[in-house]
Symmetry: D2
Subunit: 345 residues, 4 copies
């Protein structure tokens, strides 16, 4: 069934176009070239290379042979050596390209750019969901609802209380994201082993200029300290998990016999045309459990040995795209679901 | 960075063409049509529908509008209602299509076909790897090797003993797979709620005929009992995990100062041209950890409530394609790695 | 709240006395002494040591200073060096004790004895649960029950079909366990690095005799090939997962408004005396999710580097006791729950 | 082998006395009584009960029959109904005890007290480790060390850079903990379904007074919003994960042939007396992987349905004690390890 996010017919169920675009290979390649160009310009500004502007412009418009990139990636474990080779081949001053940097600098910084775009979208969607829940509260908040504890009818409460339990975590998630953003939207520049040694005494100036151009935090080298990435993954799982609770509640409310909610646009069945399945509510549960599992692997990847762990680092590449897209989708699905609530309580 | 298996330049590092083809949407669509056609023919053979052969032939050659499939899947949570609608629209006797079945029958049976193809490839690759390890044993088995326990030099042993620790699990994995194959390569046919009621008393005959045509096990309805799928996932994680041990060993042996192995074709570095990185060995560790995490989610999905859990079922769709491809790749990567060993011990 | 299995008031909720006894430190210490004695006797039979019977009898009745064991374990990472030191101190022929073996031989073999006791109990409980479910089927199997798919009422079916979905996995789990038992109930004897070198040419005879005395499989050295242990962990998660489905179903059936089941002896509430909470049903879901998570860690532990990985091995020690006890408890809880069903359908 | 934290000889390897005391049943029972007493006093201050001080004093000194607690917990799924019954039986004004509260209020607030004690200890240990690493930096920071990327020798760097990669995450973890503390060290008081309805209009005043007496945050009801607990679990896994990297590095540095570190007090072997195993370094890796797995389960538990999920809540009880103790131990083990470094580089 292949990857559910890029899938021709599952893709818009499990993911969405905005999330896919941010995490697409095309966008990543743009980031890689933008970063190499920023490095060249920053070295130019620091006076360590010449003809920086011409070279940088050439990088930005370079046509990349992705077949060659693929063959080399299989061998090298990453695309940068071949990407740099292609950039060097098309440049008049190849020494102005990538000099002093290492593959991880480019790939980690590209990840920072991707996370920044993701974070902006998460923030916007958290806002949108809060707004949608608040609107539900205004419409249905005073309706009566049977509270249920341990799956059993307890005593009556209001719809507003149930809605509060869905919206309460959202500002906390937003605050956590706000605190994490500068840590994960951070330039990585370290050179071969993380000490910026190949830049001589210009390393910190080059890093500051790159960060300024890329609109990233000018941070010390973080190539082996992946704690902020793991914290970000946990935050994603936290968001998806909170929405999984909302989804589970709605799926339970939609049961015949409970009948505490009416949804429009529910899923059809091939065998039972009378049914209206609460597919989006179930999806929220699915995405929550998926995100919890992927976040765990990001924490396994914290055991990132020495100055670069190929094994731990590649595990991040396997896990992050799906985790991010699942989180984004859980937010859009939850908001969609709010709009499809015709009655609650 | 999107899905690593279908990625334009990461795809041949983390996956391979054979695995990708088996798990591709195109192949899945072929399975779906093949299954609907087999159902129609089986109903024809049981005498419950007419013009079965013409209708089945029409199904097999139907052109499917995947855009419409995508839009409907987002709403319905699965593609079958819309697929059936399209098939019905193009058929003279729509009542001969899908009658008595439900979406899960078609999708679970398609999964069984996909798993069968995967299993054949796993078996072939387990064989290939055993052969490769045996060849290494003949060449290097009597060489001396410092055994290491708890990362410390212990006492000398032979290369053969280390190789044995890599190959010992393989026949056990093969035997486990052999025992599992009939359980996961099993027809699912239950109708709306799993009792084959809509087929009247012809249900078991129709199932038997479908299983015969599809070369699957003729099994009782398994739509809510996912234990065999979870066992299969665990076996995948077991295989990838055993090869992760081999990968970790090789990465450790390749360290300067230890120097117990020489590899050709190691990965190049953009900053340190002198390096030969044991990328494939590291990849085996990555795939092992990834597979362990995905297998856990398949076990979370065992809590598959009532007669169909949308939430638990969709989690399987998110997890299985990557788990299968990672397992297949771990086998091909391990075999590649054997071929690149120039010296060991 | 400390460990839930040994807890003064949570212990009989999450665990039970039989499981606790099997996995207790006292029982483990008995196994360690029994194994050292069997080794001594086996060496005696092979003629490599003298006064074996007297020495073995002394081992079996030795009083062990567990405070000293604790202090040494903190330093050495395992208790065997200190245990052997104490045994040597009390023996007339210390050279007849532990000679040729290593710590892992004793600890892994003790694990095999523990797993054997666990497996016997799992088998017995699987049988008991099957019997209980069959009895429910005889009483209630023909009652009507509304099938539910995706949390929605579908079409009526029978209680028997729902019961079948609970019992169907049990014989498959029993068959998997039967196939695994000889693989995990296997003697480990390898010596320092797994080659039995210190026993000279008597190694295989000593191993065979030990296995015979301990009623374990006489297997080749498996100290670094943990695939059977991981498969066992997955089987535990499979069993607990299948019962988690049953628990989730029952919790859903017990909802007011659904009312498809009546249970006696449900849990009381401190705030709502009218409530009868389906605690045991919920517990099955809890144990299922817990077991899935612990099984994942056993698969992470497959990356067991070189001839002994302290890191991966210690992870097994952290995970296995809880996983085993949760699995055993899920079986007893499911059987208890069957006995408390007054009405179903 | 039972729980490793409370184990007679494994307990001081995997845990320590301070962590054990915080998470012990005895300490939890003290918290439960302290909370019931605080509730009684707060109700007295609010004027909703009489003779509050006498009753509260009686609660604090009550002797609890833990056998009865155990039997009731097995039935009720939690100890509070029986605890309250015992308190009521011994009180002259039972209506002044527990009135208006529910079991979850008491247990969640007790967890908050336990987390507060844990957090204080984590903070102290983070400080201690930072100090120890800084001291190593002063002694060895300028020594040369071969940087290793992808397990291969790269180019020389300094010991200081490696030490920086170990200490860099610590202030970030401390800042995250500082932000989380008020969220997890928060009073839970909601009554039967979370609306404080049984307290009439005195609910918020009673909560404020309880929080003041217990030195917890006076927070809105959080019984179904477990996001802060999951974030705390992730932070634990983040801390243990960062220290797992340090442990893995040290185990690799201690290899013969690499020889970049000399440790005292390493673990002895029963078969190879010449060995000094880097047990504590390995333990850090073990604890990191364990914590990652347990944190994942806390995220699975975010799907906490309706006004109280027995299933999700009980999963927290299974997971948190081990996760907390593993995290505490990883900090003390890392600090111990620093003290045992005789040479580095």
């Amino acid at each position: 069934m292949s990857d559910v996010f890029d899938h021709p017919w599952l893709g818009d169920l499990f993911g969405d176009a905005e999330g896919r675009a941010i995490w697409s290979p095309d966008r990543q390649l743009q980031h890689l070239l933008r970063i190499e160009a920023a490095l060249t310009r920053a070295m130019g500004a620091a006076g360590t290379v010449e003809t920086a502007e011409d070279t940088a412009a050439g990088i930005e418009t370079a046509g990349i042979d992705t077949d060659a990139l693929s063959a080399a990636t299989r061998r090298d474990g990453l695309p940068i050596p071949e990407l740099v080779r292609q950039l060097h081949a098309g440049a008049q001053t190849p020494e102005a390209i990538h000099t002093g940097a290492t593959s991880q600098d480019i790939l980690d910084t590209a990840l920072a750019l991707t996370l920044k775009e993701t974070n902006v979208l998460i923030e916007r969607r958290l806002d949108g969901l809060s707004t949608a829940l608040a609107a539900l509260g205004r419409t249905f908040g005073n309706e009566s609802l049977m509270a249920r504890t341990r799956m059993q009818a307890a005593v009556p409460t209001t719809v507003g209380q149930r809605l509060d339990s869905w919206s309460a975590p959202l500002p906390r998630h937003a605050a956590r994201l706000s605190a994490l953003r500068p840590q994960v939207e951070a330039l990585q520049l370290g050179g071969a082993v993380g000490d910026r040694a190949a830049f001589g005494d210009a390393g910190d100036r080059i890093a500051a200029e790159m960060a300024r151009r890329l609109e990233l935090t000018d941070a010390p080298c973080w190539h082996t300290s992946r704690d902020s990435l793991a914290a970000w993954a946990a935050l994603c799982a936290g968001i998806a998990g909170s929405l999984g609770k909302m989804g589970q509640d709605i799926a339970l409310m939609a049961q015949q016999g409970v009948d505490e909610i009416a949804l429009t646009g529910g899923g059809g069945s091939s065998a039972m045309p009378h049914k209206q399945n609460p597919v989006t509510a179930e999806l929220l549960v699915t995405l929550a459990r998926y995100a919890a599992g992927q976040s765990a692997l990001m924490h396994q990847a914290l055991v990132h040995e020495q100055e670069r762990s190929g094994a731990a680092w590649m595990l991040e590449w396997m896990v992050l795209p799906g985790l991010a897209q699942a989180t984004l989708r859980s937010l859009s699905a939850a908001t969609d679901l709010c709009a499809r609530i015709e009655r609650i309580g």
